[in-house]
């Protein structure tokens, strides 16, 4: 696909973002940050699910205090999410936050921005700035609409201008250890704004579609928006926003990276849709194979397989199975054929075939 956009690199503790580093998956805790133990428990759960970087809301001084323990003990870098109050930003920098997310435009003037930029600079921690369709200033929006722009275009233009302005406020104090997010709940506005911003700067980009909704809609919106940008080579770290358990955000984020060829799905499991030719229990079969693989991986086993194919019939079955390390495909009637490295192992009744396949999968785990 497209070459990756060359962004400058920032570091969140030991995790690099941008500059050719692997694209990372983020999420956000939904515990009360003041409850350090509960928050750390959730961070550990998210890290075990594959989360690379975590963000915690820091709405008050009690949360700032709690961040000391959280940042010291978290297995992954912790970003403090701050709004409006620069003292909270200064506080979490002292508490050991690995990055902060705040918009210098809403903390009350240049002197406060200077203090935050200097403190972050001295501690060597980056700042994520951003623009969100819901927080574009009313004056900018009405200015753009006066210019005759429609809602969509004014959101795109507003996001790009707001993000550039947030960067400039920090650059004024020599601070460039920045990553940037531009988010709208409209996928098309998000994609356009990120493409435009990416072309104008070399700051690393944090991708996400904001307020994407419940999983039914949010997974599709996030996959389309984040995926289209990643396939263009744009994006250094991603966060899927779902109205759901944050573990779902992490799993979806990982699957987006896998779909974009940016993280290896190992093994990849391909399976047919059903159709009128399907005579085997394809849906159940695919889910059983997926479960075996998930269980092995969750138990820390390594599976030396690149691809497993679960195919309904003989039309595409042998072709796909040819490329897979292991394959199962509907044969005549309700029988199944088992394939290994493109060669037919044999044709078996369905349940026996599944057991053969399972034994093969297990033989590749250690």
């Amino acid at each position: 696909m497209s070459r990756r956009r060359q962004s400058r690199q920032i570091k969140l503790n030991n995790v690099a973002v941008g500059g050719g580093a692997p694209v990372t998956v983020q999420s956000m805790t939904n515990t009360d940050t003041r409850a350090a133990a509960a928050t750390l428990k959730q961070i550990n759960e998210l890290a075990a699910s594959g989360c690379d970087i975590i963000r915690c809301a820091v709405p008050d001084e009690a949360a700032v205090s709690s961040m000391k323990e959280i940042c010291a003990e978290s297995p992954i870098p912790v970003i403090a999410d701050i709004h409006f109050d620069y003292r909270l930003a200064l506080g979490v920098i002292s508490s050991g936050a690995h990055a902060i997310r705040l918009n210098p435009g809403n903390i009350g003037g240049p002197e406060r921005v200077r203090q935050v930029a200097e403190a972050a600079g001295e501690s060597g921690i980056p700042i994520r700035v951003g623009a969100n369709a819901g927080s574009i200033s009313k004056s900018l929006l009405s200015e753009l609409r006066t210019d005759g722009m429609n809602t969509h275009d004014s959101i795109v233009e507003g996001l790009v201008r707001s993000a550039l302005e947030q960067c400039r406020l920090l650059e004024d104090f020599g601070f460039k250890d920045i990553k940037v997010a531009l988010k709208a709940s409209e996928v098309t506005a998000t994609v356009e704004a990120c493409r435009r911003f990416a072309a104008e700067t070399d700051y690393p980009l944090h991708l996400g579609v904001t307020e994407a909704g419940t999983p039914a809609r949010g997974i599709v919106k996030s996959s389309v928006g984040i995926g289209a940008l990643l396939l263009d080579g744009i994006g250094d770290t991603i966060r899927v926003s779902l109205t759901a358990d944050p573990v779902e955000e992490v799993l979806c984020g990982i699957r987006i990276l896998e779909a974009c060829g940016l993280r290896e799905a190992r093994p990849e499991i391909v399976s047919c849709p059903t159709c009128g030719r399907t005579e085997i229990e394809l849906i159940a079969l695919a889910e059983r194979v997926e479960k075996i693989v998930n269980t092995l991986k969750a138990s820390g086993k390594i599976l030396e397989l690149n691809k497993i194919a679960v195919m309904g019939c003989v039309v595409n079955g042998p072709g796909e199975a040819r490329d897979a390390d292991l394959g199962i495909a509907g044969a005549s009637g309700d029988k199944v054929a088992i394939f290994k490295y493109g060669k037919t192992v044999g044709v078996f009744p369905q349940e026996e075939g599944f057991e053969r396949l399972k034994a093969e999968i297990l033989s590749f785990s250690h």
Copy 2:
């Protein structure tokens, strides 16, 4: 976003594909096509879910006979899926199929292709040809690999060459009423092949990622691949392939079109992810709102609302709610604020706020 690619238009009965027609959603029945009543029952269910075009596997003469009743009574155009046997193609054309899907390269030579092209031409029905990574000919693949191509590039090149070759076989007999699909289970190969083919011809394109798997992975893969192409202006009809009930394919397809701004999600429901600032029951609230809307729509009601926002807190809540027709956002403690056309209706305890919002939603339905 990008302008839509200008493709030639084909017609499947009363449904246009390409040439600026709205992008349609397809699925495939998984009943035995020989059982006409069961197949029609599923087609009606899929049509009620929003499916625009349906495909049925036609593996034998009994299925050809059954297609007479299916095509006559289906509320949406029916595509007959044929492999290898040109007599089945001739048969379903007589049975009233609204289109056929077959690859002229695998039906046994030019004379048979001529007969199928003439019969389709006389009946005025289009042919969908296609290339699938699993069915690229071994000789072409090994030729490409001899040229030093890696697996990924040889799949892309193989898909484009195979698809062009399938078209040429029909063009040789003056038949151009064609739509084309190029599918691989790798998203990146699918996207690259479709982009290349789209640049070389004006045939309408049927998009899909093949063997995408169970919903957990398949929805992400299909959304990324189909979405990236649609956002580029490429694609005239789509089919999400899932190892699942075909209704899931249709719902996912519709959501992809909505995410790409190609179909109006009316009302659009936006909702925050959870975070440490959330003090209200956000996940449950968003799901309850979604359920009210789904229930109204399923009962055939029209909802005169463009957007409903369900927001966790005051950071982005008022901004998003400003753009929404109706909104609910966490206020102080576990209270919620209700918004209507950007103005605050009031702040209420959570359950009372939900009931107020529900009453507002219902007042917009008829």
